[in-house]
Symmetry: C2
Subunit: 455 residues, 2 copies
């Protein structure tokens, strides 16, 4: 009774998710709580509320409510760029000559160019509801900053973005996109904060780091009246919002009677993958269905495959609480030769716990192989993927080629988180044969892991 | 019996157009034929076939067949990025406080970032059908070159793009997108052609021009065995392919019982606007319905509003045939202060004839006003528009504000041709208050028009 599968499955507006899927509610082994870095006690709602919006703190701590209603205002905004299409990769299948069926959920059809907007709009909404004047955040290359700028512009909130200085100067385009949406973009380190001034005095010529930008954003949020800090990945609340990806994907597949065998996503902080797998993993945890889940990470930043499952700082600057997660150590920075994103030293606690429980596997891939997959994909499927997303493409192609060999007709679903329009400098490196791979040595990782806090 | 209008109307795959709409077939006053620049006689199919693919020549000359079937292979490719959504601009309406209903057809959801892909894939298909090895073309900022690279990659055709040298050097990102799709991108003028060598000798430091790039592309196509030249706008065949925009738009509106009052599009060479209006203008020509059509052009390149309706060269290099069209003279180049596209000195013959017959009106707008509209639109509707597309937004907003004043509840439809991700340098100029307006003087235009060929 299967209907013919179109190239792209678009849900009707009436089929859009009404609730976020709170995966933690279905987990027997809950993700470990955040700890206050000084007292080593679980962070309370009160403590978290000094930095985060109240409703978001509730979501951060809620590991029992299975479905959390999406407020109408957020659903209205989702309607502007969602449903994201679930695409049947007919052309890729043909090019590979595989019997496998390949689908990808494409989150790049919005100006932020990625899935980040799903959580940005939610966080901006709750900030507005709380009567705040604005929010602060950090951004590296600018994907998250762009998404937040769009969301704040929609709700008329002030948006202060601390952008890592070298990106601010070398990647002016995303900065201008943020300015188009009215955001206040400051190169970090800046003279506007204590931590920024301190770093500028110590290292006058520094290009900045994400860790420093986080510290500046948090400091600004806590010092200014009517501001809170918001963030783009890692935290539970972000995974929760990103579950719209998975809920839409599952609804679309169910409509056509398709059950995936393998679900693949790239993993940096883990929010997109966590969102994609949520309802599927929920079924698996309830024994209703089984799926193979694969998290894909760069070989140059191998958090899940070579990191340690332990309490660590979420940020280099150590202003955030401690989280129990797979980590390479909060001081770990991928080699400068690493072109794409997914540079985070840790992993959201939910995915960390699921990996530790053996419910999800992880693979690391080298970047030249990732760009090869990206280019092959672009040429047949049209979409030019972000380097991050291309990690998932790499493994999806590998799995499809395994099916070609074995003759298995598996159904593979992967998350295509975004587009690579602002990553053409990395593509240029690849085209010019100047891209190299880097795998950190055992010694390098051991040295970084030796600095984990004693908890 | 009207259904509630969703934010975005997506057609089902089964509702996608099966035929292009050949507007010329419905015109009583046909667009004037192309003339051989030497003999001043109408170009024959044989003459055109030296430069263009055979089937495309047929389409170029066919002004009687009302509906031309879209080959299945092209429809399959269309399925990869179409239907383009028809968006109800609820948020813009609210922000403007207008009783008008505003819709826009968004063509930017593909890697080329614009509607150009609609014709690129058709031209690549016919080249492949003819057994050619490849095609040549020119590109300025790179939108058309990108679209053609994608199309050629899909059909395994070689694609040689001559890219205006200053863009090649100053805008490396689109160049890298083209390389990702396997295109051969050469900065023009180049030492690979006679015309390129001649110009390099005369003007060693030149940054190139579109006129020169066209000449190099045509020369290469005619000299190489198994190659033809393809082009992204102005010609009838391109308008024909772009009619998918209009057919989809009309199908989507009809589904919800919506009849537009005003249809607005930006006009450079005229292909997107020609495509958008095709089925609506067809109805108007047959007396079945009436609509107001508005072509919007930059005040700095005011072809329809201040040009002359006469035979002129289609290209600066004068290698193409003569076309009867509104023109500013083939030597006209908009002021260097002009930031966006829509720089073409002429206008496709079909739209020129329709304007001359009083069936369509034209307006020119200044660029600072265009960027103001672009930013206002982005902030409420999310999408960051290309400067070209923002010309249509400007007039759509102006018309909606008129409705606010008069209380009229008009339905306004405009074409949002593409995204502005590769135009952030122009946005930066605008944000920094460095953007100026330029309106050519009567004397400047008269001097350019004085050089029209004597036909």
């Amino acid at each position: 009774m299967k209907k013919e599968i179109p190239y792209k499955i678009y849900l009707e507006e009436s089929e859009l998710p009404t609730h976020w899927y709170n995966l933690r509610a279905f987990m027997k082994n809950k993700p470990a709580p955040l700890l206050n870095a000084e007292t080593l006690q679980p962070m309370t709602a009160e403590e978290l509320s000094e930095v985060f919006c109240e409703e978001l703190v509730k979501q951060e701590l809620d590991d029992t409510t299975p479905y959390i209603e999406i407020p109408q205002e957020i659903r209205d905004f989702y309607k502007m760029y969602r449903p994201a299409p679930l695409v049947r990769a007919y052309c890729l299948e043909k090019a590979l000559g595989t019997p496998a069926h390949i689908y990808y959920k494409f989150e790049g059809n919005n100006t932020s160019g990625s899935h980040k907007l799903n959580s940005a709009i939610a966080q901006a909404y709750y900030a507005k509801q709380q009567g705040l004047k604005g929010v602060t955040t950090e951004t590296g290359a600018g994907q998250w900053g762009t998404a937040l700028s769009m969301a704040c512009s929609y709700f008329g909130l002030d948006c202060k973005v601390f952008m890592v200085k070298c990106s601010y100067e070398q990647k002016p385009f995303r900065r201008e996109v943020m300015r188009t949406y009215g955001a206040n973009v400051t190169p970090s380190p800046s003279a506007t904060t204590d931590v920024g001034r301190k770093i500028l005095t110590e290292f006058p010529g520094t290009g900045g780091s994400l860790g420093c930008a986080i510290s500046e954003a948090v400091e600004t949020a806590t010092k200014l009246d009517g501001y809170r800090y918001v963030l783009g990945s890692v935290f539970n609340q972000v995974l929760l919002h990103q579950s719209v990806i998975g809920v839409e994907t599952k609804t679309a597949l169910d409509k056509y009677g398709v059950k995936p065998d393998i679900i693949i996503g790239c993993a940096g902080g883990g929010s997109n993958l966590g969102g994609l797998i949520s309802p599927f993993m929920g079924e698996k945890l309830q024994g209703k269905a089984d799926y193979q889940f694969i998290a894909v990470e760069p070989a140059s930043c191998p958090t899940l495959t070579r990191g340690k499952y332990a309490y660590d700082y979420c940020d280099t600057g150590k202003v955030c609480p401690l989280a129990k997660m797979y980590t390479l150590g909060s001081g770990f920075i991928p080699s400068a030769s690493h072109a794409g994103g997914l540079r985070y030293h840790g992993m959201t606690t939910t995915l960390s716990q699921l990996c530790d429980d053996g419910l999800m596997e992880a693979r690391s891939v080298e970047q030249t192989k990732v760009f090869e997959a990206a280019e092959a994909f672009a040429r047949v499927e049209g979409i030019l993927p972000a380097p991050e997303s291309a990690h998932a493409i790499r493994v999806a192609i590998d799995e499809a080629l395994k099916c070609k060999e074995s003759g298995e007709k598996k159904t593979i679903v992967f998350g295509l988180t975004g587009t690579g329009y602002f990553d053409m400098m990395s593509y240029e490196k690849f085209h010019d044969g100047k891209m190299t791979d880097y795998i950190p040595s055992e010694e390098e990782l051991a040295a970084s892991l030796a600095k984990l806090p004693k908890v």
